[in-house]
């Protein structure tokens, strides 16, 4: 029963993760499914659905299509829509029904590519993994298929780096599932700019704060000095770009006071051409003058955000901090105070003696009644339910109200 959630919600699945990562890139994304995956996506997982156009489709797979192996219908429909809509690429996303039926998507993708002449990618999602896996594979594919080719075109390579001397940065792993659309991305861009850094590309999520559309950004992304991984979904793309283009990556979200450390990490990575997983540093290394009694503070959330938030508490020696990262896929991202536990039962046991818990409001019922619960909604966990309460993760110092003093400056907001 360890994988059963009887009280808390579940995280967005990999199918939506692919759609979310590709939403703004001008491609045509087709979920091969009877229907259902689409409504979950556009109703709960995609805040951009009603405000921005995107070519996201459901194939309308029927029982007879599945029984008869009628792949031709999918191929024909996709090719016809592509002729009319002229997308930049086609993405086929697997869902549980064709997974169970064993549809040969590699062959289907080959045939669509041949028929349309368009880049056609297949994402082997299962509907049973989290969005971290789906968005991760989508970003990696975009990096391989849209950033690397620009780098290999010698005519487009600059002779030298930005003459202003600013560090050029790509933001990897930005989707509304982790950052929502409440200004976090813009705050990251402004914060980097204030520190003499320039964002060349925000992969998957555009911002008015950036020059050029996403196509322009992808064109220049290979010139970056560092890739900043804002969520775990960006790591596969970061690794690929490091391997192929030698661009080092830094992992962390500039949450509150952690921002200064992250800037140092970016400079270190840039100077030494080395990767820095800044969010996994021990935020409270053992030292002298430890108070005899400490309060236990637990953050539950996405791996990079949860750990970055802990980093912002590094001066609080009166707290015993810990991160629970239920979505973690890669142990290399986890610090010594982080746990990769997923089940409701395990999480409940871990927070049973916590004094303070920071998590999405839907975790509240499994936390101790007497604990101080600080709600930070997470779109990938509670969907649109608390969207209006979502903070700007960068500028909002969620602890200010509870730990007044040295945790915020005049620019920050406070969650009430």
């Amino acid at each position: 029963m360890k994988r059963v959630s009887t009280v808390i919600s579940t995280y967005t699945a990999d199918v939506s993760g692919v759609c979310s990562a590709l939403f703004e890139l001008g491609g045509m994304v087709v979920m091969h499914d009877p229907s259902g995956c689409n409504s979950t996506y556009n109703t709960h997982d995609e805040p951009r659905w009603y405000d921005q156009d995107s070519l996201i489709f459901i194939s309308g797979l029927t029982q007879m299509d599945a029984i008869m192996g009628n792949d031709e219908k999918l191929i024909r429909d996709v090719a016809r829509a592509a002729r009319d809509l002229k997308p930049a690429f086609i993405a086929l996303v697997r869902t549980p029904v064709p997974l169970m039926a064993g549809t040969d998507f590699f062959a289907v993708a080959d045939l669509i590519r041949e028929e349309t002449g368009l880049p056609t990618w297949y994402f082997p999602t299962t509907g049973m993994a989290s969005y971290v896996s789906g968005a991760g594979m989508a970003f990696e594919t975009v990096a391989r298929e849209m950033i690397l080719p620009a780098a290999s075109d010698k005519e487009k390579l600059p002779d030298h780096k930005d003459s202003s001397g600013k560090i050029g940065i790509n933001l990897l792993g930005a989707t509304p599932l982790d950052l929502s659309v409440k200004g976090t991305l813009e705050s990251v861009i402004h914060f980097l700019r204030e520190n003499e850094m320039e964002v060349l590309c925000s992969l998957g999520m555009d911002s008015p704060a950036l020059t050029g559309d996403l196509a322009d950004q992808l064109e220049r992304a290979h010139r970056a000095d560092v890739n900043l991984v804002l969520s775990e979904t960006g790591l596969p793309a970061a690794k690929l770009l490091e391997q192929e283009l030698g661009i080092p990556y830094v992992v962390g979200l500039p949450v509150s006071e952690f921002g200064e450390d992250l800037i140092d990490a970016i400079r270190t990575a840039c100077a030494g051409k080395e990767n820095v997983i800044a969010c996994r540093e021990d935020p409270q290394p053992a030292g002298e003058g430890e108070p005899s009694e400490k309060k236990k503070l637990v953050v539950i959330g996405e791996t990079v955000y949860a750990q970055s938030l802990l980093q912002s508490l590094k001066n609080r020696r009166d707290l015993n901090v810990e991160a629970i990262c239920p979505l973690s896929l890669r142990p290399e991202l986890l610090g010594s105070r982080s746990l990769s536990i997923r089940s409701e039962e395990e999480i409940q046991a871990e927070v049973a003696d916590a004094d303070i818990v920071v998590a999405d409001p839907m975790y509240r019922p499994i936390c101790p009644k007497e604990c101080l619960f600080i709600p930070v909604p997470h779109e990938a966990f509670s969907g649109r339910t608390f969207r209006r309460d979502l903070p700007d993760l960068v500028t909002c110092n969620i602890f200010q109200k509870h730990f007044p003093g040295n945790y915020c400056d005049s620019q920050t907001q406070v969650i009430e």
Binding site: G69, M100, A101, G102, T103, D104, F106, A107, D110, L111, E114
Partner: protein, 253 residues
């Protein structure tokens, strides 16, 4: 590495032929892997002398991902690496989907990289009855399909269906038809009927096997003809077939 899928009507002698062929190629110095793609899990039985071999799907059911490659393989006679995909009990589940899951699992566990076979045989159940049973001929799996047939009408009908399936899948980058193997049952006009089929399918008969009592005798001994009667004429026929397949699939000139 050459990958070959063997199809044909149920009961035509695919597993027996593939096992003898595997030994014939192993005798020539090739590393051979034989993967049974049939829920009955008896493709490699003659190579392992009845020694137990847990199927990939049974292991997956029991252990999830906590199993090693060696759990699902046995080294059979002449060093042939034996694997059985397995499947559900008769009347239950979805055997075709099981083949997909089993072949994916083998790949995931690095079977081809670890054993580095020169040649892999997929011994596939009966006709191409559903998408799952076409898995061994999908892109990334077999390069060539060989169809075993006799001159019996039902066997020819099944072989023709398989040939059509291969033709239908050619634009998907699937395996190509390598040829027919004639397993004689001594029916009237047998050679002519199978030659006609080969013409219709625009392919060749890569080898012929006589109907021999030695095949049954060897089966009684739970081994291949190649092992039980290595000096027999039948064993020579299997060796000749091994030579022909090695040439046809590009292992030899």
């Amino acid at each position: 590495m050459k990958k070959i899928a063997i199809y044909g009507k149920g009961g035509i002698g695919k597993s027996t032929t593939v096992s003898n062929l595997a030994v014939g190629l192993a005798e020539k110095g090739y590393k051979v892997m034989q993967i049974g793609c049939d829920p009955k899990a008896d493709s490699t039985i003659l190579l392992r002398h009845g020694k137990d071999l847990q199927t990939v799907l049974d292991l997956t059911r029991q252990k999830g991902n906590d199993m090693s490659l060696t759990d699902m393989t046995v080294e059979g006679f002449a060093g042939v690496v034996c694997v059985e995909a397995g499947g559900p009990a008769p009347g239950l589940g979805c055997a075709g989907r099981g083949i997909i899951a089993a072949l994916n699992k083998l790949e995931e566990k690095g079977a081809y990289e670890t054993y580095q076979p020169d040649i892999v045989f997929y011994d596939v159940l009966g006709d191409v009855v559903c998408g799952g049973f076409s898995m061994p001929m999908r892109k990334g799996y077999a390069d060539q399909v060989y169809v075993l047939t006799s001159g019996e009408n039902m066997a020819i009908h099944a072989a023709a269906n398989i040939g059509l399936a291969v033709e239908n899948f050619k634009n998907r980058g699937y395996a190509r038809l390598g040829g027919l193997i004639l397993n004689r049952r001594n029916v009237k006009n047998e050679q002519a009927k199978v030659e006609e089929l080969a013409d219709d399918l625009k392919t060749v008969i890569v080898g012929s096997l006589d109907h021999s009592q030695l095949v049954t005798d060897a089966e009684e001994l739970q081994c291949t003809v190649m092992e039980a009667f290595p000096d027999s004429a039948m064993a020579q026929e299997y060796r000749a077939l091994a030579d022909a397949i090695a040439r046809q699939c590009g292992l030899e000139d």
